[in-house]
């Protein structure tokens, strides 16, 4: 148990305590001064009076599931290729996929707009090919744009846990399967895929949980219709300075995630799945 104490203690002091501080804001009247010491249920009232807020929460959850699905779908083949076909270079090739993320996210998004904007690379190409007559910002400023961009951002991160779970599959198992006459796709479906399931699951958590609260991407490429629940929370803290409202919106999200992870964990135990394939 002594193994757990350093991480548990760190999370206790620097995560749990701040969380409690934040939770206490949900029943305050205002952010600073006297109002921050006055009890009030105003934010609960605002939440119930604005069905739009919870609609955005639902939209965000759908978006997060879509993002993790596509990110895993795109990442799996790459992780598979790296582990089984890339030889000793696999670690470097994996890193190569991560490196773009060392450039400021904001700048990468601005660059995406160069590709997809009215006057961008894509339109220029399509115009010259004669496929379209007028430059339109294809794929930008919509919910689809948010999805595409999020998938772009998360693919390399989804590849990491899948990569490390495929790495540990012992080659002789696959050789044994093939010696026993299994076709490649059979050994993939019956050996490789189940054995890599913990990695897929980790990738799923990895991608889906942070994207529920995502706000930067919707701000930059979501336009008017692509606004997400995370934007609401961010607005309350960074622009509106309405911490009670922001705290309440965050707590709603945190509780949902907590319950989802616990339920999920009950049915599919991340620690046991795959160990015995």
């Amino acid at each position: 148990m002594f193994l757990l104490s350093p991480p548990a203690l760190t999370l206790l002091v620097f995560f749990f305590v701040p969380l409690v501080i934040m939770a206490s804001y949900t029943v305050r009247e205002g952010t600073f001064g006297v109002a921050s010491r006055t009890f009030s249920l105003d934010s609960f009232r605002t939440l119930t009076e604005n069905p739009g807020f919870l609609r955005l929460l639902k939209d965000s959850m759908v978006l997060s599931l879509q993002t993790s699905f596509f990110a895993i779908l795109l990442a799996y083949p790459v992780a598979y290729f790296l582990v089984f076909h890339a030889g000793k270079r696999r670690m470097s090739l994996l890193t190569l996929l991560i490196v773009p993320a060392w450039t400021s996210y904001l700048l990468r998004i601005l660059a995406w707009k160069l590709i997809l904007g009215s006057n961008g690379v894509l339109n220029y190409t399509l115009l010259n090919l004669g496929w379209i007559d007028e430059g339109v910002p294809i794929f930008l400023y919509s919910r689809t744009a948010v999805l595409i961009t999020l998938v772009y951002v998360w693919v390399p991160f989804a590849a990491l846990p899948i990569f490390s779970s495929l790495e540990r599959i012992q080659r002789h198992l696959l050789e044994a399967a093939s010696d026993l006459g299994a076709k490649p796709w059979e050994s993939f479906l019956r050996v490789t895929l189940p054995l890599s399931f913990p990695g897929i699951l980790a990738a799923f958590f990895f991608v889906s949980i942070p994207t529920v609260g995502e706000w930067v991407t919707p701000t930059l490429v979501g336009g008017v219709d692509g606004i997400m629940y995370g934007n609401l929370i961010q607005d309350q803290f960074s622009r509106a300075l309405n911490w009670p409202m922001g705290a309440l919106l965050s707590m709603v999200l945190l509780v949902i995630v907590l319950v989802a992870v616990m339920v999920f964990n009950r049915f599919v135990n991340i620690t046991e799945v795959g160990a015995y394939g």
């Binding site: 350093p6 470097s92 996929l97 400021s104 779970s165």
Partner: protein, 271 residues
């Protein structure tokens, strides 16, 4: 069979190349625009200039912020790696009450909006009288990185059975020896992946760094606030180009070193 394997290999390589292209396309454009003689990031290109790189060399605040970001990145990643690995070993190798609760709770930093954590930590630090400095940023980054590390390492530990470790202990190894000689080496790929992931998150993290940084600014804080002035954008773009090229060079160098190392110690192969 061999033919199918070769085909799969080529298909995989092709797919890898496509994905890499997809990921690098924006970077490539940024590099092109870092030589563009215009303060606005839009087509058409205006002309070639080295002015932005020239200005970059003189932007002392900017260079200082890069140093700060590297420091925070390495510090936060090292600590998160240690803590996250311990947590992963604990949840994968021991049965204890509240294990599910701990797992769910430890996943929460993944979802907490950074601005909430940032503000809350700022309140905590000022209540405790702790002055803001770079290491307070690192603490914030450790909190958000531990769950990532834990998930990556746990996914790896799920793979080799605990009986490997038990065998080592049956043979008389102490727990620490087992940990350092069996568990950790077997987890090496996951540890590298986890470190990469932490460093990447930390290096480009804005919100926590903003609230917790004191007067030592990290690179994202400096860059984001620069965007208020359109005329400062090219500087940020040329910096991004430099960061990218340097990272790739480092990567190539380490690959080259690995090959040399592999050549020298061929007989020592572990796997």
């Amino acid at each position: 069979m061999a033919e199918a394997r070769v085909a799969a290999r080529w298909a995989g390589a092709g797919y890898y190349a496509l994905l890499a292209l997809f990921l690098y396309m924006p970077i490539f454009l940024l590099i092109v625009f870092s030589f563009n003689d215009s303060v606005i990031l839009a087509f058409p290109l205006k002309g070639f200039t080295l002015e932005w790189y020239h200005e970059l060399l003189q932007a002392e605040e900017l260079l200082a912020s890069i140093k700060n970001s590297l420091l925070v990145g390495f510090l936060a990643s090292a600590v998160s790696l240690a803590l996250g690995t311990l947590a992963a070993i604990a949840i994968m190798r021991f049965r204890f009450r509240g294990r599910d609760t701990f797992l769910s709770f430890a996943s929460l930093p993944l979802v907490i909006p950074y601005v909430v954590l940032g503000v809350a930590l700022l309140i905590l630090f000022s209540a405790l009288g702790i002055d803001l400095y770079l290491w307070t940023v690192a603490i914030g980054h450790v909190v958000i990185n531990v769950p990532y590390v834990m998930l990556i390492v746990a996914a790896r530990l799920a793979g080799f059975q605990a009986n490997l470790e038990e065998a080592a202990m049956d043979l008389g190894a102490t727990y620490w020896v087992t940990l350092t000689k069996v568990t950790l080496p077997l987890s090496a790929p996951a540890l590298v992946a986890a470190f990469l992931s932490s460093f990447t998150t930390s290096f480009d993290e804005f919100t926590l760094a903003f609230f917790l940084a004191g007067t030592q600014n990290t690179l994202p804080v400096y860059l984001y606030s620069q965007l208020r002035f359109p005329s400062r954008l090219p500087l940020a773009v040329s910096l991004a180009a430099v960061v990218m090229v340097v990272s790739i060079l480092i990567l190539l160098l380490s690959e080259w070193l690995r090959r040399i190392g592999a050549g020298a110690s061929k007989t020592k192969g572990i796997k």
